[in-house]
């Protein structure tokens, strides 16, 4: 009896163990996808956490907002911060991509005319690159392409819609390279190496510092300052800070008026211009020497003819067709 009950108990025990194991297995099966994701996340986070721990990339942009007032004349933007020891630093200023419209010149017979209309998108409106050393010596091509750090890598991202239909490969290539050339001429795309100054901090981390003469012609909007720390031709850390350009004071008021009350704005613009024209005329008549007034106001052309005679050096007869004479007649 006792033996039987003992067996029974052990059987019960194994059964309950089995039940437990299946339960755990089931649970595991359910949880597995999450677990895998969690593990992956840990792996991804790990290096950056490690980097942050060692010497994080930091960036401080001053001023963070540039106000464009009436006499705005560009600004000096200072970008500084720290990077891991022994790294080179690359600072990129990027303006948001927006659609741009172009005419493409083409040859028709002997002359060049606008042969096509294009919409170009996917390229940053401003791209300034500053580095502590020449870009190709601090990063390899795959890293440059991954983060789009030079013109070549931006080039492949430029999209184009043409009125003539979707452009083929060769056409697209021509458009892209012409676009980059145009941006370069404008001063919107520039790369300046050896412009980021590096120094060693007491802790061993690198301090970097850069003065950007902010381009006067960059329109209002938000821009991104991206800082890359590079070592062994790879990106080891990255930080980003925004920079806003906003219209302030009188220009902000004018810009708002032109958008919100466009008809009133147009009317004011016309009135202001007309007043300017007639006002200058009134001023000029005030400053005019007295004796001249009757000579100019009167249609009698005598002084005129005298002057014209002098001008035509002896060809006095030509005063004949002088319009004023006929008018006075």
């Amino acid at each position: 009896m006792a033996l039987r009950s003992c067996r029974q108990e052990s059987r019960n025990a194994t059964r309950s163990v089995r039940v437990g194991v299946t339960f755990i297995r089931r649970m595991l099966r359910r949880v597995r996808p999450y677990a895998i994701k969690l593990a992956a996340a840990c792996v991804i986070v790990a290096p950056s956490v490690a980097n942050e721990g060692a010497a994080p990339v930091s960036v401080n942009v001053s001023p963070a907002t540039i106000e464009m007032r009436t006499f705005y004349n560009g600004a000096d933007v200072r970008v500084e911060g720290s990077a891991p020891a022994g790294s080179d630093v690359l600072v990129i200023v990027r303006g948001a991509a927006k659609d741009e419209f172009f005419n493409r010149k083409g040859r028709k017979g002997p002359i060049w005319v606008n042969a096509d209309k294009l919409k170009i998108s996917g390229a940053p409106s401003l791209f300034l690159s500053f580095s502590s050393r020449e870009l190709n010596s601090i990063l390899d091509r795959p890293s440059i392409n991954e983060h789009k750090l030079d013109e070549l890598s931006i080039k492949n991202g430029i999209q184009c819609v043409a009125e003539s239909g979707s452009p083929d490969k060769a056409y697209l290539e021509t458009i892209r390279s012409n676009y980059l050339k145009l941006k370069g001429q404008e001063g919107s795309y520039r790369a300046i190496s050896s412009s980021v100054k590096l120094s060693e901090a007491a802790s061993g981390a690198r301090q970097y510092r850069l003065e950007i003469p902010w381009p006067r012609k960059a329109p209002p909007g938000s821009y991104h300052i991206e800082v890359y720390a590079c070592r062994n031709r790879a990106v080891i850390g990255r930080a980003e800070a925004p920079l806003r350009l906003v219209e302030a004071g009188f220009p902000a008021w004018v810009a708002a008026l032109s958008h919100d009350h466009s008809f009133l704005y147009g009317l004011l613009a016309v009135i202001a211009a007309t007043i300017a024209g007639f006002g200058i005329n009134a001023l000029a008549s005030l400053f005019e020497p007295r004796k001249k007034v009757p000579a100019e106001g009167m249609p009698i052309p005598e002084p005129q003819n005298a002057m014209a005679a002098k001008a035509s050096a002896g060809r006095t007869q030509s005063n004949g067709p002088d319009p004023k004479k006929r008018r006075s007649a």
Binding site: N114, N281, P321
Partner: protein, 338 residues
């Protein structure tokens, strides 16, 4: 001109101004200087100056749409200064001005339809460019030949000012009116239809009325050159007021700060030009206008035959790309609004 020393003083300081609608900052002195030159030409020869101003503004970085719209605003200031100066010199025939405006407006409406038709047929650009070169070149050449002939012979009332053979026919047309300021007598229909053609040409070619209007008034309507210049400025003033309003209302591309800073130079320039025109004879004025027209034609010829350094040319967001701030863009902006 005691304003000139002020301009020179500003030059020494060299200040920059932020243009709210264009969204960029430019050297104010540069704009005043450019304005001065354009104002001088405008006051002297009765042209708007858009043919020079738009490309210059685009060259110094103003977005194309803003450049085209704002310079019409600047031309309002320039031509009102010119008109005021010419009014004092009794060089503006208001009656003729109103008739030519009526014709011009009708002409530009027809011109816009022509452009649409050309676009549909294809090769519109080619036709427009060639028309521009041929018409402006021919007008310039005729004016130049006539002036040179007159200068060589040294006299005689210009034959164009005498009644032509077709005169009796024209005299029989209805609505005869006299234009006392110009000293001419025409049927309303004559200046109306001539200005309709001018309006049509300006709409198609996108070049300002002055180049066409002054020669038409002098050679075909028999008006004195000085009065033609003043009246042309009046025509330009009114059309540019309209363009400015349209552009501000539909495209919001008028930069009033840009326009007014140009106006500082151009209104003064227009005063100087108007006075200078008084010191020149009619044929000398026409000679200068001919040289300017031929210069613009030459620039255009060089521009279209040379291989461009860049195949891409910035365009406005709409069709209004090639359009200068005259009757052409009035209708074009009306077009975009529809």
């Amino acid at each position: 001109m005691s304003v000139l020393p002020m301009v020179i003083a500003l030059a020494a300081i060299g200040f920059t101004l932020f243009l709210p609608v264009a969204g960029i900052s430019l050297n104010g002195f540069l704009l005043i200087g450019v304005g001065g030159v354009i104002g001088l030409l405008s006051g002297l020869l009765g042209v708007g100056g858009g043919f020079l101003l738009t490309p210059i503004l685009m060259m110094i970085g103003v977005p194309a749409t803003v450049a085209a719209a704002s310079d019409s605003n600047a031309i309002v200031a320039t031509s009102s200064s010119g008109v005021a100066a010419h009014l004092r010199l009794k060089n503006v025939d208001l009656r003729m001005g109103v008739v030519s405006l009526l014709g011009g407006v009708a002409g530009s409406a027809v011109g816009v339809e022509c452009i649409k038709l050309l676009r549909r047929l294809g090769d519109a650009e080619l036709v427009i460019t060639l028309t521009y070169i041929i018409v402006l070149g021919t007008v310039g050449a005729i004016m130049l030949r006539d002036c040179l002939n007159k200068m060589r012979r040294g006299i005689m009332p210009a034959k164009t000012h005498q009644p032509s053979r077709s005169r009796p026919l024209l005299n029989r047309l209805p609505f005869q009116m006299s234009f006392p300021r110009s000293g001419v007598h025409h049927s309303f229909l004559v200046p109306f239809f001539l200005c309709l053609v001018v309006g049509l040409m300006t709409a198609v070619m996108g070049v300002g009325g002055g180049f066409m209007l002054v020669p038409v008034m002098v050679y075909l309507l028999g008006m004195p050159a000085h009065v033609a210049v003043g009246t042309s400025l009046f025509y330009i003033l009114i059309t540019c007021m309209d363009v400015t309003l349209m552009q501000a209302n539909t495209n919001q591309t008028v930069d009033v700060v840009l326009a007014l800073i140009i106006a500082v130079g151009s209104t003064v320039g227009a005063q100087v030009g108007a006075r200078l025109s008084r010191r020149l004879r009619g044929d000398q004025l026409i000679f200068l206008l001919a040289v300017l027209a031929l210069g613009v034609t030459l620039k255009m010829v060089v521009g279209v035959t040379q291989t461009p350094s860049n195949l891409l040319r910035k365009a406005g967001a709409h069709e209004v790309i090639n359009i200068e701030p005259h009757s052409a863009s009035v209708s074009a902006s009306q077009e975009t609004r529809r």
